[in-house]
């Protein structure tokens, strides 16, 4: 049993586990201590200096985010002096921060702005310190504006500790300190995998998605264009947050309606692409597992940040990668081939927009020549959940009062297997549902593989498929993947049986529901709520296995012939190349 510690916070008795910080202990009794650099996903860095408290009558102040509780401790979280010190620190931070909230991408969603409001800041107390640092706009996905940076370290810590990428680091010292890739190369020449977790963790507007709303607006007004759109699994359970709804509210129907109101002529669902991915990837697995056509484990490839990571950090493992494109890319390719033919529209008139929870998807759509398998860019623009919610708001669409609509057919209808792609373990679970069928020609009684669900960084399971043991691993939060891959490499080096047959990887914690393009403020509580929405959507689906999707069957019949066919290969599969971590 955990050792418990008794202390007083503002005179109230509190009992918490040993090792708890004062900040967490205070939260347990709903006492709020303001913070800026602290984030629940990250080890405290203790740089902002706002969470100071007093203990045991000492006149000195301690940081609540790092100081651990002690038996008999008496904590004061606010008095005139503490509030004055906090306010001065906030005013100092404001003095080194551009005063242009109205034109800031984080306007109304900025944690510093909230602090300024809560502390009743009515004037800029100290003269502005300008640094005139250039922006880094080198990647397809992100904009780094060091001028706005408050050096809270969250971006660097999530990049280093959670993602294991180390694209961002502190450069220079003292007042010249700034966040940038090591050796001051541009983000695009750095190991950055464009996952966007930096942007999701930034409290201010210092690093954010590269906005392409204007490109979409322009496409929507072209008379000869045929704008179509697809929405990713994880978007439907998070978009409600942008309109004041609780995390995890499934808003697929309203989102379809909103997109039509914006002017899209057809609304597709990436979940359809997910079902198709399972058909391709599942067949690929059977080919390797049963026919020994290629190495095991088969590693999933639907996460573009993960693809980028593997090409940079583990390029020797490229042969293990599934060649199946991501669901987004499959829908993109089919929209300008199959759909265009079927509807009699010229492919070059179709303007394909994808709505993704992800900033790396912006990178994926042009990452290799296979992304133009239709003869032109399969996807024209990829928008994040944050961008589409701004478009809906700027159109004046009252999202919450929209009717639920259906998606367009074909490239729309999906099964529960397609929707769970949005959460960690979902691709694996969806694959297992279909792999079982492909191996046994039978249907599962219980389609739920709960072992691969949840927020543990690495999840392992052995699935009995009619006597055949399938060993799987699921990793999310990029830093966790090393553990899995090193095990595989060690087994290969020692000539041993592979530890896994099938590995699923998603770069972001929680999977796409925790993606770098999702509404701000994600933490594990919100991730769990979003995941719960995903699994609810799955459970409510009439069909829950990809191979049962009649529309998928139809696409194969009418167009693709069968999984892994020549045509499927041309349109639905891709290749990988080794890339350097740094380009000089």
């Amino acid at each position: 049993m955990d050792k418990m510690i008794n202390l007083k916070i503002n005179g109230r008795d509190v009992t918490v586990k040993a090792g708890t910080t004062i900040l967490d202990a205070a939260r347990q009794i709903a006492v709020k201590i303001p913070t800026l650099c602290w984030h629940p996903d990250l080890d405290p860095w203790a740089s902002c200096g706002i969470c100071v408290v007093k203990i045991n009558g000492s006149s000195k102040m301690l940081r609540a985010c790092t100081a651990a509780v002690e038996e008999g401790m008496s904590v004061i979280t606010h008095d005139t002096e503490i509030v004055e010190v906090r306010k001065t620190v906030i005013e100092l931070i404001l003095s080194a921060h551009p005063n242009d909230c109205l034109a800031c991408p984080r306007n109304l969603e900025c944690e510093l702005q909230v602090l300024a409001a809560e502390f009743g800041i009515r004037e800029m107390a100290y003269p502005a310190i300008k640094r005139n640092l250039p922006q880094d706009v080198s990647t397809t996905s992100l904009v780094l504006n060091p001028e706005k940076c408050v050096l809270c370290s969250r971006c660097a810590k999530v990049c280093q500790d959670v993602q294991g990428v180390w694209a961002l680091e502190f450069l220079s010292r003292g007042e010249n300190t700034r966040v940038a890739p090591a050796a001051d190369v541009s983000l695009n020449d750095s190991p950055c995998i464009k996952c966007g977790q930096c942007s999701a963790h930034c409290p201010v507007g210092a690093i954010y998605e590269k906005s392409e709303e204007h490109v979409v607006w322009n496409a929507l007004r072209k008379p000869d264009a045929y704008p179509v759109v697809q929405i990713a699994p994880a978007v439907r359970v998070a978009i409600g947050e942008a309109f004041g709804l609780p995390a995890g509210t499934v808003e697929t129907g309203k989102l379809y309606a909103a997109l039509r109101q914006l002017g899209f002529k057809a609304v597709f669902d990436t979940n359809f692409g997910a079902d198709l991915t399972i058909m391709e990837e599942g067949s690929e697995f059977i080919d390797r597992f049963v026919n020994k056509n290629g190495p095991l484990p088969l590693i999933t490839s639907c996460c573009p940040a993960w693809v980028d990571y593997l090409e940079k950090f583990y390029c020797d493992m490229i042969p293990y990668f599934s060649t199946a494109k991501s669901p987004q890319a499959m829908v993109g390719a089919l929209s300008k081939t199959y759909y265009a033919q079927k509807m009699g529209i010229k492919p070059d008139e179709i303007f394909m927009v994808s709505i993704m929870p992800c900033t790396a998807k912006k990178f994926e759509i042009s990452r290799s020549r296979e992304m133009s398998s239709s003869g032109q860019k399969d996807i024209d623009v990829s928008l994040t959940t944050r961008e589409i919610s701004r478009m809906i708001k700027s159109a004046g669409i009252n999202f919450n009062s929209l009717p639920n609509e259906e998606c367009d057919s074909i490239l729309g209808e999906y099964t529960g297997a397609g929707t769970i792609f949005g959460a960690t373990g979902g691709v694996m679970e969806a694959a297992l549902r279909t792999v079982y069928h492909l191996l046994t020609k039978k249907e599962l009684d219980n389609v739920n593989f709960t072992d691969v669900r949840g927020l543990d960084g690495v999840k392992e399971a052995t699935i009995d498929v009619s006597g055949t043991q399938v060993r799987v691993a699921v990793a999310h939060g990029m830093a966790h993947i090393a553990e899995v891959l090193e095990k595989v490499k060690a087994a290969v080096a020692e000539g041993k049986e592979t530890p896994y047959h099938f590995v699923e990887v998603m770069a972001c914690r929680g999977g796409c529901i925790g993606g770098g393009g999702q509404p701000y403020g994600a933490n594990d509580e919100i991730r769990k709520a979003r995941a719960a929405g995903i699994y609810k959507d799955d459970e409510m689906s009439k069909k829950r296995c990809s191979h049962q999707n009649p529309h998928i069957q139809k696409v194969y019949e009418e167009f693709l012939e069968k999984p892994l066919s020549k045509k499927a290969h041309d349109l639905l599969h891709t290749g990988y190349t080794a890339r350097p971590e740094y380009r000089w």
Binding site: I50, M61, A67, L92, Y126, V150, L151, F170, R173, G174
Partner: protein
């Protein structure tokens, strides 16, 4: 004595840079020419402390103390003193009494009279590059005692009896730190020596390492034995090449003698020491930043607790002390804690080394018992303020400290009294200021330093320091307001309370302490647009009065063309717009006709 005469040459960094090495070579050449090398030994020692008078050459056994020696004096020293036995009076610090022709001995020199040398016991007496000399002066006796006669608890008790407190700044009891690290449960522990001395004007640790490196190695080995560590690291800044060289030599010799490395003195105890070079960031003197840097990471502090004693280098319990703290330990263990505790005050035992600099006659390195007054240090040891100027204040504790004014000259100096006066012990820098020093300007100097040396991690220090600096600039430019003072106090308080490490917490101290003692001087800058000390260039004006006889010298010397105008034999006039306030006209005028207002 093996030799008839010993010539000791100070080979600290200061004397080395004034050609001590050349003096050494010339003396050797002269002695060789006279075939005297078998009866006279020449030694390069560590710092004598009396840096003001360097290079210093001391001749034993008669303790002649030669100052400001030049390489060309070697011939005379050998021919007169060594061969003929006649002192070279012109080079002696204490000119001999005319009647008796007897020169005063070293301990009767004012500079040394009040000093007690515990830490610097060997500095200036031994050749730091010869381990035998250290051993001859009881070196490594404490280690032997510790290895064979004392338990870890005995060692800690002896340190407790001694009352030694950390000499790095905060004054935490050394024995407690040792006990915490000893009690921490872990298979691997480390001993670290903080030799990242960085206060402006401070060179205590450097001098110890240059003059007596084995004392630190011995103490670290003892520390290893005490806490159960087998590896030690000395983190020293790369700007200290001489100290690094002497440490390297010392480590090599100690290993050859079986005093370091495997199975020390056949006791079965292993301890090894490595030198790690720092790149000179001031913040790396903060222990958590130092450990980060030692691990190869960016030198940025992390909050304590956890303290290094629990979670230090590579997450392992680590005992980290500064150079001077370590150098005390062998002496304490040889002579006993009670011996050490006889020096000093109730709360601060022993001695403290200070680097005495600034407006002082005898600048140099001094070691004094705790409890000595500033008056004794400044007037008796330091010889007072030069040029008949008036004492204004002394800054202790470097950029983290504060100023102490004439009113407090008789306060006994120890850790607690300095804190009470709004300053601190710090590592032992002591900068004396006279009436020509402007406190606003001095505060600006320190703030410039801390702003430059801030690691940039925490916002109160990073931004607060810059804002304070800007206000000080505004005030010294004659543009300050009362509101600026109010804001400086607010920022200063926030920095003290909310900065992550001592660098930021203490960075506003120079301002806060000068505001406490010299508020009127700030007010003069703000309300009268005047710098009473005549230091702040933007606030001073040079005028030529009626004493001017029109000699034209000032106009000729003025570096600005056409700034000073006037006909020969007519009163000259300075063009205030053009004047750059260099003061050259005032210096060259023989008639005191140029006045500074």
């Amino acid at each position: 004595m093996k030799y008839k005469n010993y010539i000791l040459i100070c080979a600290g960094t200061a004397c080395e840079s004034s050609k001590a090495d050349e003096i050494y070579r010339n003396l050797m050449k002269e002695l060789d020419a006279h075939k005297l090398l078998n009866e006279t030994q020449v030694l390069k020692t560590g710092c004598f402390g009396f840096c003001e008078k360097g290079p210093i050459v001391k001749v034993l056994p008669d303790e002649s103390f030669y100052v400001h020696v030049k390489p060309e004096d070697a011939k005379e020293l050998v021919e007169e003193h060594i061969i003929k036995g006649r002192r070279v009076n012109r080079l002696l610090y204490n000119k001999p009494c005319e009647e008796t022709n007897v020169a005063k001995k070293l301990d009767s020199i004012g500079f040394y009279q009040k000093q007690v040398r515990v830490v610097l016991r060997n500095c200036g007496f031994i050749d730091p590059e010869v381990i035998d000399e250290y051993i001859a002066r009881d070196g490594y006796a404490a280690l032997e005692k510790v290895l064979f006669e004392m338990s870890a608890d005995d060692i800690i008790n002896e340190l407790k009896t001694s009352g030694l407190r950390g000499r790095g700044g905060a004054g935490f009891p050394t024995w407690r730190k040792g006990m915490f690290t000893k009690d921490a449960q872990n298979e691997e522990k480390f001993v670290v020596c903080n030799a990242d001395e960085g206060d402006p004007g401070a060179y205590m640790d450097r001098s110890i390492l240059e003059g007596d490196p084995h004392s630190v190695l011995e103490a670290m080995t003892i520390a290893g034995k005490t806490i159960g560590a087998n590896r030690g690291y000395i983190y020293i800044r790369a700007e200290y090449p001489l100290a690094i060289h002497r440490l390297e030599v010392a480590i090599k010799q100690a290993k050859e003698f079986g005093l370091l490395g495997e199975n020390i003195l056949n006791s079965g105890f292993n301890f090894d020491i490595e030198i790690r070079l720092g790149a000179g960031a001031f913040v790396c003197g903060e222990e958590t930043a130092l450990l980060a840097s030692l691990e190869g990471r960016r030198g940025m502090p992390v909050p304590r607790p956890p303290f290094p004693a629990v979670k230090g280098l590579w997450g392992k319990p680590t005992l980290i002390n500064n150079v001077e703290s370590y150098a005390n330990i062998p002496a304490i263990l040889t002579k006993g804690g009670n011996w050490f505790a006889q020096f000093g005050t109730e709360s601060s035992k022993g001695t403290k080394v200070f680097a005495l600099t600034g407006k002082i006659t005898n600048s140099g390195l001094i070691e004094v018992p705790m409890g000595i007054t500033l008056r004794e240090i400044i007037y008796e040891i330091g010889g007072g303020i030069p040029n008949g100027k008036k004492f204004k204040a002394v800054q202790t504790g470097g950029p983290s400290g504060g100023m102490i004014t004439a009113d407090y000259l008789d306060t006994p100096i120890d850790f607690d009294n300095l804190i009470k006066l709004g300053s601190m012990m710090g590592s032992g820098g002591m900068i004396v200021m006279d009436e020509d020093d402007c406190v606003v300007d001095v505060s600006k100097f320190y703030l410039e330093f801390t702003v430059d040396e801030s690691c940039g991690k925490c916002s109160p220090c990073r931004i607060g320091g810059r804002q304070l600096m800007n206000y000080l600039e505004k005030i010294t430019n004659g543009e300050g307001t009362d509101e600026d003072i109010r804001k400086m106090r607010l920022i200063g308080h926030a920095m003290q309370m909310a900065s992550l490490c001592a660098l930021g917490q203490t960075a506003p101290n120079p301002i806060i302490s000068t505001l406490a003692y010299f508020e009127d001087e700030y007010m003069a800058h703000i309300h009268d647009r005047k710098c009473p000390a005549g230091k702040c260039q933007k606030l001073i004006r040079y005028f030529i009065n009626e004493k001017c006889i029109g000699c034209t010298l000032c106009a000729k010397k003025c570096p600005v063309d056409g700034c000073i105008k006037g006909e020969k034999k007519q009163v000259h006039v300075i063009n205030q717009e053009a004047c750059i306030k260099c003061g050259e006209c005032e210096r060259v005028c023989k008639f005191k006709a140029v006045v500074k207002i």
